[in-house]
Assembly symmetry: C2
């Protein structure tokens, strides 16, 4: 898988197509500027789909209340906003999310999504328990030590968006949810489940960026890759 | 059913609870002002859920391309925006929506949602075919003459939000999708399927407005009443 990112996608029609950083930015611009999607709208769609992906891999045992707990770690950028929406939908789906969001964005979108979670009584951790408290880089060190399964949204924390970076050094998520379309680093993903949450991407945009994605079933908002 | 709206809901704990116009406005204010939901966000959630409700009642025959056509009639108010989102999701679900949106709102939300539909090549009718062309009131007269099944969002066109009005005179939808929670006029609905699309309404708000709604299953965004 790790060689995929090095090939010209046009030469490998049968393979997954992963977007470079520039292509991903161009795709987002197309959605925002040409199609006039709103950021609030895209973040809501992506966060909802991410929560649905979590339910597919970790379905709730019907009668039990065990294993409903999820820790949602959010950075200050756009994917952190997606994480906040994901946490809210997980709560609606009767999971018990807790949010760790150490560096809060001043963006009104982030603030509104934070208020929604707070008002819904989703707990926010002020620090990660145990030996490491502090900024996100140290929180990542803690996450790497955990044996519980990790779900990453789009680009796993600490990974290089293009190469994935040194996979020995980064997080090793069990589940990856690519937002809109898989980014190049996804070629390095070796976990159990890879989903794409991009059903909202119009057909013309998929063709323009030569996305070769599996079909979505019924009204599903995510598809397994 | 038609007497339900006249009773004090507190005296009828086993019955459906329908919101008065004032209560519905207060619930929406609570979501927008206290919970800081965005209008774009709520309209997206409601439009998506409305499209899912349509797929439940009129599922696509797997191999056939017949009966994929849907006419989505949108007014200039907020539920018209929900209709535009619904049409977009129906297109994503591989239906063939056509939009009739005779009085266009200047609201940027409506304009952006219209652009999304136009860019996705969803056709817009400039007038309803056959004998009646003109404003919405005359379009309603045409809809009343049609034998194809009608789906209404929240308050069927022409109905009084409180009483439902003279049901002989109004549309008789086969399917009603109540947004957030059923409004009083829903007590008069006598069609085949009544859904509520309000899974996003937080538990505290449901309790505050004494909403007695069925549980949503799995990750479903609509529930049958």
């Amino acid at each position: 898988m790790s060689t995929t990112a090095c090939r010209d996608p046009a030469e490998a029609p049968e393979e997954q197509r992963f977007l470079s950083t520039e292509e991903a930015a161009a795709l987002e611009r197309e959605l925002l500027e040409d199609y006039r999607f709103g950021r609030q709208q895209l973040v809501e769609l992506c966060g909802h789909a991410s929560a649905v992906a979590v339910t597919k891999v970790f379905p709730l045992p019907a009668p039990s209340r065990k294993q409903r707990t999820v820790l949602v770690v959010c950075g200050p950028e756009q994917n952190g906003a997606v994480g906040l929406v994901c946490a809210r939908h997980l709560r609606v789906f009767e999971y018990e999310p807790t949010i760790f969001y150490p560096t809060r964005s001043l963006d009104p979108l982030h603030r509104d999504l934070t208020t929604q979670c707070e008002k819904m009584d989703i707990p926010f951790l002020s620090y990660l328990p145990a030996e490491v408290g502090g900024p996100c880089t140290r929180a990542l060190a803690t996450l790497k030590l955990l044996s519980i399964p990790l779900v990453s949204l789009d680009i796993p924390s600490g990974w290089d968006a293009e190469t994935g970076g040194d996979s020995e050094d980064g997080l090793r998520p069990d589940v990856l949810v690519s937002l809109a379309a898989p980014k190049r680093c996804a070629g390095r993903f070796s976990g159990r489940h890879h989903f794409v949450a991009g059903r909202f991407v119009p057909d013309d945009v998929r063709r323009k960026f030569a996305l070769r994605l599996p079909g979505y079933t019924g009204t599903d908002c995510v598809a397994a890759l």
